[in-house]
């Protein structure tokens, strides 16, 4: 009985060890392939002509052929679009992080009547599909007279970004030790100074998470600019690049080159900040 059960457990041990580790590795490798494939295809396609894309979609192109990229450069307001995207995304993120951190700090740290209501109010925003409200939003923007301005986009993006930001930041701020603020209070720091000099440097990892979490959808957003922006010189990148998507023919090579150029900034920002991002993700777990 004893021997039998032991060998049984042994067998299972080997299987479990091999099976578990191997399976995880396999899943991760497959996942990497799935994640990287579209990016690689985009990269390859950016250097191919339309004909080449359809002939050999997965073939490795001649990387010296930059015709698509020069075409974007010459035939669209690429720089203009890029700048618009930077302006809209940048100001949205700045406003989201400023307001979100301040709101989260208040909700997490001060005991006041209605604190939990304020938090619930923000969280309720998570459940709201903003796109369903597009017609009322359009009317609202028209009445406010900010249709066809970047402000209309920024306002919407801030509203979209605040719930998750407040949620992430509140959770994070709550994990910071209270004694730090008490120490700063004993040192004679005013409440704004405590937030600015003590708390802000400490919540930076969470702000990076919230930032990345918001940058990607805002940068890539196609829907709201399409509705609110008609002037060519105000168009954002994803919207501007639709020039190459004709009703009858689409110049895929150029489109992919545009996609490559428009996604590059976000990818670079992510790589630069990824260390902080990962630190922030695990900070709560270690404490």
């Amino acid at each position: 009985m004893n021997v039998a059960s032991q060998s049984y457990y042994d067998r299972r041990g080997i299987l479990a060890a091999l099976g578990k580790d191997g399976l995880i590795q396999l899943i991760l490798i497959l996942n990497t392939a799935v994640m990287l494939a579209p990016i690689l295809i985009m990269l390859f396609a950016a250097f191919k002509t339309n004909a080449q894309i359809f002939q050999s979609p997965f073939g490795i192109p001649d990387f010296s052929n930059v015709a698509n990229i020069t075409k974007i450069w010459n035939e669209t307001n690429f720089l203009r679009y890029l700048m618009n995207s930077v302006i809209v995304t940048g100001s949205s993120i700045v406003v989201i992080l400023t307001l979100g951190t301040m709101a989260a700090y208040a909700v997490a740290r001060y005991k006041f009547w209605g604190a939990s209501f304020v938090l619930m109010f923000f969280l309720a925003g998570l459940t709201l599909p903003l796109k369903l409200a597009i017609i009322p939003l359009f009317i609202l923007m028209r009445d406010l007279g900010i249709l066809n301005t970047q402000l209309s986009l920024i306002v919407i993006y801030v509203a979209m970004g605040l719930p998750t930001t407040v949620f992430i930041m509140t959770g994070f701020i709550r994990t910071l030790p209270n004694e730090l603020e008490d120490a700063a209070r004993m040192d004679g720091a005013s409440e704004p100074r405590i937030m600015w000099s003590i708390m802000l440097p400490l919540v930076r990892p969470a702000m990076v998470i919230a930032g990345i979490q918001n940058v990607v959808p805002i940068w890539n957003d196609f829907f709201f600019p399409l509705i609110f922006i008609q002037k060519d010189k105000l168009k954002t990148l994803p919207q501007g690049l639709t020039t190459f998507m004709g009703e009858y023919t689409t110049d895929w090579g150029v489109l992919f080159a545009g996609l490559l150029l428009s996604s590059a900034p976000v990818i670079i920002v992510y790589i630069i900040l990824s260390r902080q991002f990962i630190n922030g993700m695990t900070a709560g777990a270690v404490k």
């Binding site: 030790p177 008490d182 120490a183 209070r185 004993m186 040192d187 720091a189 440097p201």
Partner: protein
């Protein structure tokens, strides 16, 4: 000067009363330790003095000035926190400079004070380090340094040794005692460790359930505990309490016989509690001795001496310090003699000390 007067201090959180009327007079340059079990309100009292929590009712004066509504930083009080609460993103120098700058001091003065404090605490080689690069003892010194830079009249320390390992603890304890003498201010120190309290304090405040049980010098607390709580809290191993009945000059313990004593309380209460420290009793196997009868439960050999634990007739377990040569197997019937002049008498009803 730093004379503190607390009168009728009460604190409640919502409907829970944490402190029920604390009255204390603390003199200038005194080293006072608040000691008590967890949840007794000692840390709350410290936070009220610091100004981090508001006083629900009562008055707190520092040098005749009412402090109740004065901001923490304007009280002339500095505090060292249990977790040290160093600013993690600032180096040691910045940690100390932060408060000094907020006081509106000139740049030279800030530098001078940091220089002074870091010399006193041997922090000079660490000034450019971040808190995470310091050991526990070093962090502790930085936390103290940060408090000293503000030149406070009163220094508050909240369980400063609890995060240090045992070897470091006695070093830091000596250090704190030395600092107190050098700075010459008033120090209030919170701990749950009675050894720290006894070794450091000029006077100790023993707290329990949000009340002050006794306020006095370590000697007073040890030799004349005001009630059974203080009697058992101070001293290690703890004092044994026995419920006895007084009969003339005899004290009778149910199931263990009676002993005659030469010294009795002035009060004529019949039901008494007597407190006896481990070194005021002797254990003997001679059945004819006058004393309480019991059985050995176990012995602890400590090299220098042996502690014998004896179960008495009414079920009480008492600890007795004996010479190291004593070796009694469990269940040995023994007789315990008590030195009459070292008995502490308490009323059974009030648990308060009875003068003898």
């Amino acid at each position: 000067m730093a004379r503190m007067t607390l009168s009728g201090i009460k604190k409640s959180f919502k409907s829970v009363d944490v402190l029920h009327g604390i009255d204390l007079e603390i003199s200038d340059r005194e080293f006072v330790v608040f000691v008590g079990p967890s949840g007794c309100g000692k840390s709350t009292l410290l936070r009220l003095i610091a100004g981090l929590d508001t006083i629900s009712s009562g008055e707190f004066h520092l040098d005749e000035r009412r402090m109740n509504d004065i901001a923490p930083s304007r009280r002339g009080i500095a505090m060292v926190f249990q977790s040290y609460a160093l600013y993690p993103h600032m180096d040691v120098y910045e940690n100390m400079a932060f408060g000094a700058r907020l006081m509106g001091l000139e740049k030279d003065e800030v530098e001078k004070r940091i220089d002074e404090a870091s010399k006193m605490l041997r922090l000079d080689p660490l000034l450019k380090r971040k808190p995470r690069e310091l050991s526990g003892g070093q962090r502790q010194r930085v936390a103290i340094g940060r408090a000293l830079v503000r030149k406070p009249k009163v220094l508050l320390l909240d369980e400063p040794l609890s995060n240090l390992d045992a070897a470091l603890r006695s070093d830091v304890r000596l250090e704190i005692a030395r600092l107190h003498r050098e700075i010459g201010g008033t120090t209030i120190y919170v701990t749950h460790d009675q050894v720290e309290a006894m070794t450091l304090a000029d006077r100790i405040v023993v707290m329990n359930n949000g009340k002050v049980e006794q306020f006095g010098s370590p000697r007073e607390l040890y030799e004349r505990p005001a009630n059974t709580f203080v009697a058992t809290f101070i001293g290690s191993p703890r004092m044994s309490l026995l419920d006895v009945e007084r009969n003339g000059n005899h004290l009778a313990l149910p199931g263990s016989g009676a002993v005659s004593v030469s010294r009795l309380p002035h009060s004529d209460e019949r039901n008494l509690v007597i407190g006896v420290r481990p070194d005021a009793m002797t254990v003997s196997t001679d059945e004819s001795t006058d004393g309480f009868r019991g059985n050995v439960v176990y012995t602890e050999y400590l090299g220098e001496n042996t502690y014998v634990y004896v179960r008495l007739g009414d079920g009480t377990l008492v600890g007795i310090r004996s010479s190291a040569s004593v070796d009694l197997p469990p269940d040995t019937p023994v007789v315990i003699t008590v030195a009459s002049e070292e008995i502490h008498y308490f009323s059974r009803a009030t648990r308060e000390r009875l003068a003898a």
